[in-house]
Symmetry: none
Subunit: 218 residues, 2 copies
DNA sequence: AAAACCATTGTACTAAGGTACAACCCGGGA
DNA sequence: TCCCGGGTTGTACCTTAGTACAATGGTTTT
């Protein structure tokens, strides 16, 4: 291992995953990212460079976005909308997306959005941002101390299992999905419980989903 | 893709102009844009692809930004700060900049920022945006489709127990807290599972915490 | 008053989650 | 080479969660 493993490089090597409601990959997406893949709705974990979620016309988009965020861990999630509206963009932003753009955006724009979000930036259209700024007076509370990253103390495998649990999967389901024994799943979980100082899968879930905080710096 | 007379192409052909307080062009700027030029403070008009304004440490930055916006017309203005702070970023945004980033950002990042703003986007760091979204959350319209309220189909007692479960409590703990039997807690939970169509306490937790959605309108 | 709903509890019983105490394989570093 | 950590699995056991099939008493609706 000569060079330090750059997380960005590793992320970039992964494919772009597009999440749709049954629709195949669009030509503009394919053109921007020849390696584009469709997201599998039932998966509980996913390796991706960037996850592009095509927003459905109706319904609450927050759970959809959150779900994929949990699945991919630190890969950025970008919301695609065929009818971009500022209100929808706000909801998406509040859900934590790293970008919000038109589902029919040109390949060039898509690539640029990808570049931006992969570097930790956020991509927005002008209109949305104007609204954002306009409605924000001068109050800037909430220093928002960066929440401790629970993944730090866990091994790769433990993180995967923890994410699956936190999305509601049973040990058996996780075992099947990862092609390992239920016993192994339990082993990973026991290790995770210990490291994160929680007593069971439910408290682990709260932690993974950011509802509770990591306590002692293990 | 051959494009016609695109205003974007014309804009891109112009040099990048850096506005400083007497400082020469920095190496990272030059590296990112070999054609980089310094902006003259006294000028009244300027042709530029992107105007990068290095913010002075003190004083009101709004007039400075506005001035250059007027000078360049439709070219985007990006604020550079050697000590980026969210408060300063907010001020810059309110002044109408298309981006706000570190004055010592790497050439790669600068180029990417340029790409973004040239396409009409806005480039921000994660932290600033989070703050923006957080403070704007209350003032903007709620999600178009109000998420179904899971409490509607439950009795008062079931809601209480469900909330307790969703915060990580065990049946025994809930029983003690409510001064009832563990058996009763189970009864309420079983009823809640049935009504909300979930199979166990973990999925109930996801529902209560808004991570998943209520499916069938029971 | 009867029906319907709610909160409560009991006795099983089954299923799932979690722990204890291991073992094996593999790759990398002292 | 030996040791160590990560991933894997086994057996046994205990605890917790959840279900089946009840019952009781209270309140509200019909």
């Amino acid at each position: 291992m000569t060079r330090k493993s750059d997380p960005l490089e590793k992320l970039k090597a992964l494919p772009h995953v597009f999440v749709t409601d049954g629709e195949p990959i669009r030509s503009n997406w394919r053109e921007a990212f020849p390696q584009a893949q469709l997201g599998y709705t039932r998966a509980t974990s996913c390796e991706a460079s960037v996850v592009w979620v095509l927003l459905p016309y109706t319904g609450d988009i927050t759970p959809l976005i959150r779900r994929w965020q949990r699945m991919v861990g630190d890969a950025p999630v970008v919301a695609l909308s065929d009818e971009p509206r500022d209100e929808e963009g706000m909801v998406a932003l509040r859900a934590g997306v790293s970008g919000y753009c038109n589902g029919y955006a040109s390949p060039a724009v898509l690539q640029q959005v990808a570049e931006t979000v992969l570097q930790g930036g956020v991509w927005l259209g002008q209109s949305l941002l104007q609204k954002l700024v306009a409605t924000t007076a001068q109050n800037l509370p909430k220093p928002a101390v960066a929440p401790l990253d629970w993944t730090l103390s866990l091994t790769e495998r433990e993180v995967i299992v923890a994410r699956a649990v936190a999305s509601g999967a049973s040990n058996k389901e996780i075992a099947d999905q990862l092609n390992i024994t239920e016993r192994t799943v339990k082993a990973h979980l026991t290790a995770a419980f210990e490291k994160l100082r929680v007593r069971d899968r439910l408290q682990l879930t709260l932690l993974v989903n950011g509802i509770t905080e990591l306590k002692a710096p293990s």
